[in-house]
């Protein structure tokens, strides 16, 4: 098949020679027509399928990628490229900041797309968007992002917020456009672990989750409330699970918010982008409200 293009929040992704199965994967994971024409950018991403094997010395230099959901390894080469490796596949990323381009050279099969997914995330980040692993809900036109490590209660808090009348925006992941501080959802559905499913059944007894997909139970946002696809981000709410305390909002030190924020965004893989990203984070935290939300005893103050 020939060239294929996709709009990613205003960034243009071009796939040089796309197979039907690759297009299907891209459409499934990266095509959000709900965000079409919302952002404009000069950045372009060029994805090509590499028929070259990875350099043999790469695996020996590879280090585990911190914070990656799956087992990925990373290698920084002297020419400034970043390699993301997984068993059976990988992607080589090169950044051309002057011409606002990221080239992704990918090899593997569609069973090996973790590195490709992470590579596309890095391309988006390189273009100035901030990835945010958080559950997010909107009240009175302003979004609150609930932050915390896995298992803290992000999804449960989102469900409680929806039950309290908030609009859901995302359950796991969104992109923050820093200039406008607008958050764009990158989730199609909620995905609930079995214990969170019990919370759903208690709060929304009329809602039926979809069948267990091997890891989680998918749930349509629309079955819970009218969802928001984007919203100005107003508050970073750092979650703290502590049954010994009463559930309440508390003030939080900016340093603690920063730790949680970095935990939710990760750091750029391109080392040249790390200090600018840090400066951007500092600026964002100056403008956003930040609070701690203690998940303790009693009703959440939502």
């Amino acid at each position: 098949m020939g060239e294929y293009t996709l709009d990613l929040l205003g960034r243009r992704l071009t796939v040089s020679v796309a197979s039907e199965s690759l297009i299907y994967w891209l459409e499934d994971h990266w095509n959000f027509p709900e965000h079409a024409r919302q952002l404009v950018s000069e950045w372009t991403f060029w994805l090509e399928y590499s028929r070259e094997p990875e350099p043999v010395e790469l695996r020996a230099q590879a280090k585990p990628l911190e914070g990656a959901m799956n087992a990925l390894e990373v290698v920084w080469t002297d020419d400034g490229a970043v390699w993301l490796l997984e068993a059976g596949g990988g992607v080589c990323l090169t950044l051309d900041e002057e011409n606002l381009k990221v080239r992704l050279s990918w090899y593997g099969t569609l069973e090996h797309t973790d590195a490709l997914y992470q590579g596309l995330c890095e391309a988006m980040l390189s273009s100035g968007l901030v990835p945010l692993h958080a559950s997010v809900a909107v009240k009175d036109g302003e979004a609150t992002a609930f932050l915390g490590p896995s298992g803290t209660g992000k999804t449960t808090t989102l469900l409680r917020a929806i039950a309290a009348g908030w609009q859901p925006l995302c359950e796991d992941f969104g992109w923050l456009e820093p200039q406008s501080q607008t958050l764009y959802s990158w989730d199609r559905k909620l995905h609930l672990l079995p214990d969170t499913l019990q919370v759903l059944e208690r709060l929304f007894p009329q809602v039926q989750a979809e069948d267990f997909d091997g890891r989680k139970h998918p749930v349509e946002f629309s079955s819970l409330a009218q969802r928001a696809w984007s919203s100005p981000l107003h508050t970073l709410a750092v979650l703290e699970r502590d049954p010994a305390q009463v559930s309440e909002w508390q003030p939080i030190a900016l340093l603690e918010t920063l730790v949680s924020f970095y935990g939710s965004t990760g750091l750029p893989l391109f080392k040249a982008l790390r200090q600018p990203f840090s400066d951007l984070s500092s600026e964002l935290l100056r403008h956003l409200e930040s609070q701690k939300l203690v998940l303790g005893s009693g009703e959440l103050p939502l």
Partner: protein, 86 residues
């Protein structure tokens, strides 16, 4: 003579009058107050020989005490890998 300099991978985040240092390798963060930030900036500019004078000017501390404080902090920062030998 002090030949320490910031590790090239360390990321600095200014935050409410403090400077937060992040070591990407360990994911550890360290926060420097105004005094620590001045010491860090002096190291970055390669002028550690003048750190006592600068601290004395900025914070009205005794230069001898300032030098001792700076040496203790730089030793700590080297121990955790934020400073390396040039």
């Amino acid at each position: 003579m002090n030949d320490l300099k910031p590790h090239p991978d360390v990321i600095e985040t200014p935050l409410e009058g403090e400077l937060v240092l992040l070591d990407p390798k360990t994911q550890q963060m360290y926060s420097l107050n105004a005094t620590g930030t001045l010491i860090w900036e002096t190291l970055k500019s390669g002028e550690y020989a003048r750190v006592a004078e600068r601290m004395s000017d900025a914070f009205e501390v005794d230069p001898e005490q300032a030098q001792q404080d700076a040496d203790v902090l730089t030793a700590d920062l080297e121990r955790v890998g934020l400073l390396v030998r040039a």
